[in-house]
C-alpha cells in the first residue's frame, strides 16, 4: 500500500505538477511573453492580479476559464466519436511517456561509494536502491518512450480525418507524413548512442554518463556522440511540429491544419499536449545526450575532479545536497532545452514542405546511417 502511495505522489509531482506546470507556463512565458520580446511587443499584461500583471500569469488562468466556457463545436457530418477522442490520443501519450524519465538516481538506504577506477560507477553499500525519483524503473525505457511518443501520430491523423474539413485533412496528412519521416532519423541517430551505452534502461544510461574522461571531462552523450545529438535534437524538433517545422499548422496555407475545427477545451488539450511533447523531447535529449541528472564533478559521496576527492559538510549531509543538486541539474537541462526550442521557433522562418521532407530524408537519414556506421567502426576498433 505504501508503494502505491509513493507511486501516486511521484506521478502527481512529475506529471501533473512538473510537466503540465512547465507546459502551461511555457504557453505563457515562452510562447507569448518571449515572442513578444522578440517581436518588440509588450505581450499579455492586461489581466491583473491585485493590480500586478505578474509577467502575464493571470492571463493564463483567464484563458483557461475562457476556454472552458466556450462552445464545443463539432462540425456537421464530422465523425463525432473520432473527433472527440483525437485530442485525448494526442494528450495521453504525452503524459504516459514520462513514466520512464528518471529525475534522480535511485535512493540508496545505505552509503553510496563512487569507484573512479570503474568509470565513476556509484555502488550502494549496506543498503539497497529504492526507486523514489522516477515513476517506473523499466529495463527497456528508451524503446517504451519511443513507442509511446509515436502514438500521437494517430491523434493528429484522426483529428484531421474526422473533422470533415479539407484544411483539417491536409493538416493531418502533412503532420503524419512529417512525424513518420523524422522518426526514422531519430531512431537511427539514437542507435549510435545506444551502441555505446549498451543498455536501453534510461537510468543506467545516465549513470554511465557520470564517467570522467581524463578525470575532468564529463562523458556525456554530447561528448561521445556529437553528431547524433544534433540529429536527434533536429528530428525531435520536427517531431513536435513546432519551431520552423510547424507546416501542419501553417496558417498561411491551410488555416490551422488539423486544429481548424477544434474549439473550447478540446483545442486547449491539443495545444497543451503539443507543449507537453516539447517538454518530453527536451527530457529525452537531456537524459540521452546531456547527462540527465548528472552534474559535472558532483557525485553522491563528494566532489571529484582531477582525481581529487572532497566531501563538503560530511557524507550524510552531502548525500542530500547532491540529490537536490542533481534534481536541479536535470530540471535546468530540460528548461534550457525547452527555452532553446522556443528561441528557434521565434527566430527561424517556416520551411517549405518539400524542404522539410528533403531535410528529413536526404540529410538527416544518410547522416544518421553514417553516424551509426562510424560509431560501429570505432567501437569495434577499441574493443
Amino acid at each position: 500500500m505504501a508503494e502505491v502511495l509513493i507511486t501516486l505522489v511521484k506521478i502527481i509531482v512529475i506529471v501533473f505538477v512538473f510537466v503540465l506546470g512547465v507546459a502551461g507556463s511555457m504557453t505563457l512565458l515562452g510562447d507569448r511573453k518571449q515572442s513578444a520580446r522578440i517581436q518588440n511587443r509588450v505581450g499579455p499584461n492586461q489581466a491583473k492580479f491585485f493590480g500586478f500583471s505578474l509577467l502575464g500569469f493571470p492571463h493564463f488562468i483567464a484563458d483557461g476559464i475562457k476556454l472552458v466556457l466556450k462552445e464545443n463545436i463539432v462540425p456537421a457530418q464530422a465523425n463525432k466519436f473520432l473527433h472527440t477522442i483525437a485530442p485525448a490520443l494526442v494528450f495521453i501519450p504525452a503524459l504516459i511517456g514520462w513514466s520512464v524519465i528518471p529525475f534522480m538516481d535511485h535512493y540508496c538506504t545505505g552509503t553510496v561509494m563512487t569507484l573512479p577506477e570503474h568509470g565513476y560507477t556509484e555502488v550502494c553499500v549496506d543498503g539497497e536502491w529504492k526507486n523514489y525519483f522516477s515513476i517506473m524503473h523499466m529495463n527497456s525505457g528508451v524503446l517504451f518512450a519511443f513507442a509511446i511518443a509515436a502514438i500521437s501520430v494517430y491523434g493528429a491523423a484522426i483529428a484531421g480525418w474526422a473533422s470533415n474539413s479539407k484544411f483539417s485533412l491536409l493538416g493531418g496528412l502533412r503532420s503524419s507524413a512529417q512525424m513518420i519521416s523524422y522518426e526514422v532519423a531519430m531512431g537511427l541517430s539514437l542507435a549510435g548512442a545506444l551502441l555505446i551505452y549498451g543498455t536501453l534502461n534510461i537510468n543506467e544510461m545516465v549513470r554511465m554518463q557520470g564517467n570522467l574522461l581524463g578525470d575532468w571531462l564529463p562523458m556525456w552523450g554530447i561528448v561521445i556522440q556529437p553528431l547524433a545529438f544534433f540529429l536527434f535534437l533536429l528530428a525531435g524538433l520536427a517531431e513536435t511540429k513546432r519551431a520552423p517545422f510547424d507546416l501542419p499548422e501553417g496558417e498561411s496555407e491551410i488555416v490551422a491544419g488539423y486544429l481548424t475545427e477544434y474549439t473550447s477545451m478540446k483545442f486547449a488539450m491539443m495545444q497543451l499536449a503539443e507543449y507537453a511533447a516539447t517538454v518530453f523531447i527536451a527530457a529525452l535529449v537531456a537524459v540521452v545526450f546531456l547527462g540527465g541528472w548528472q552534474m559535472p564533478w558532483v557525485y553522491a559521496d563528494g566532489i571529484r575532479i582531477f582525481g581529487n576527492h572532497w566531501t563538503p559538510f560530511g557524507e550524510e549531509v552531502w548525500y542530500y545536497i547532491s540529490i537536490v543538486l542533481r534534481i536541479g541539474a536535470i530540471t535546468f537541462k530540460i528548461l534550457f532545452l525547452v527555452w532553446l526550442q522556443f528561441m528557434m521557433r521565434w527566430t527561424l522562418p517556416r520551411f517549405r514542405y518539400d524542404q522539410v521532407m528533403t531535410l528529413g530524408w536526404k540529410i538527416l537519414l544518410p547522416l544518421s546511417i553514417a553516424n551509426l556506421f562510424i560509431t560501429a567502426v570505432i567501437v569495434t576498433i577499441l574493443a
Binding site: E71, A177, V184, K266
Partner: protein
C-alpha cells in the same frame, strides 16, 4: 521484470485517461450550446463547402513517404537489438563477425536509399 513492476504505468495510464476524460467533459458540459447552420459548417474561408474532403484527391507522395517509413523504421527495429547484443558478441570474441554482419545489413539499406533517391522517390514537386 515482474507484472507487479508495471503497476506505476497502469496507475499513470488511468490518471492520464481520467484527466483527458475530465477535460473533454469540461468541453462538452460547460459552455453554451446554440448551434446554427453556419457555425456547424466546416471551415472553408466562410463560403459554403464544395464537396466533401473524403472524396478529395491529394498527392500520392504521402503514400510513398509512408511506405519508405515502414522500410526504414523496420531497419531501426533490426539495428537496435544489434546495438544491445554487440557487447555480448564482443565478449565472446565475435565482435568483428557481428560488425561485419551489421555492415552488410547497413550497406543493403544504404543501397536501397540511394536507389529510391535516384528513382526520384524522395522528390517533392
Amino acid at each position: 521484470m515482474e507484472i507487479a513492476n508495471y503497476m506505476p504505468l497502469v496507475l499513470l495510464a488511468i490518471m492520464a485517461v481520467g484527466v483527458a476524460g475530465l477535460i473533454i467533459g469540461l468541453a462538452t458540459f460547460f459552455g453554451p450550446k446554440n448551434p446554427t447552420r453556419e457555425k456547424m459548417m466546416p471551415y472553408e474561408s466562410g463560403s459554403d463547402p464544395i464537396g466533401t474532403p473524403h472524396g478529395m484527391r491529394f498527392s500520392i507522395k504521402f503514400y510513398l513517404v509512408a511506405i519508405s517509413f515502414i522500410l526504414f523504421d523496420l531497419e531501426t527495429i533490426f539495428v537496435i537489438p544489434w546495438t544491445m547484443t554487440w557487447r555480448d558478441s564482443a565478449a565472446l570474441g565475435h565482435g568483428l563477425y557481428s560488425f561485419g554482419v551489421i555492415s552488410i545489413f547497413l550497406a543493403i539499406l544504404t543501397i536501397g536509399l540511394v536507389y529510391e533517391w535516384s528513382q526520384g522517390g524522395l522528390e517533392w514537386d
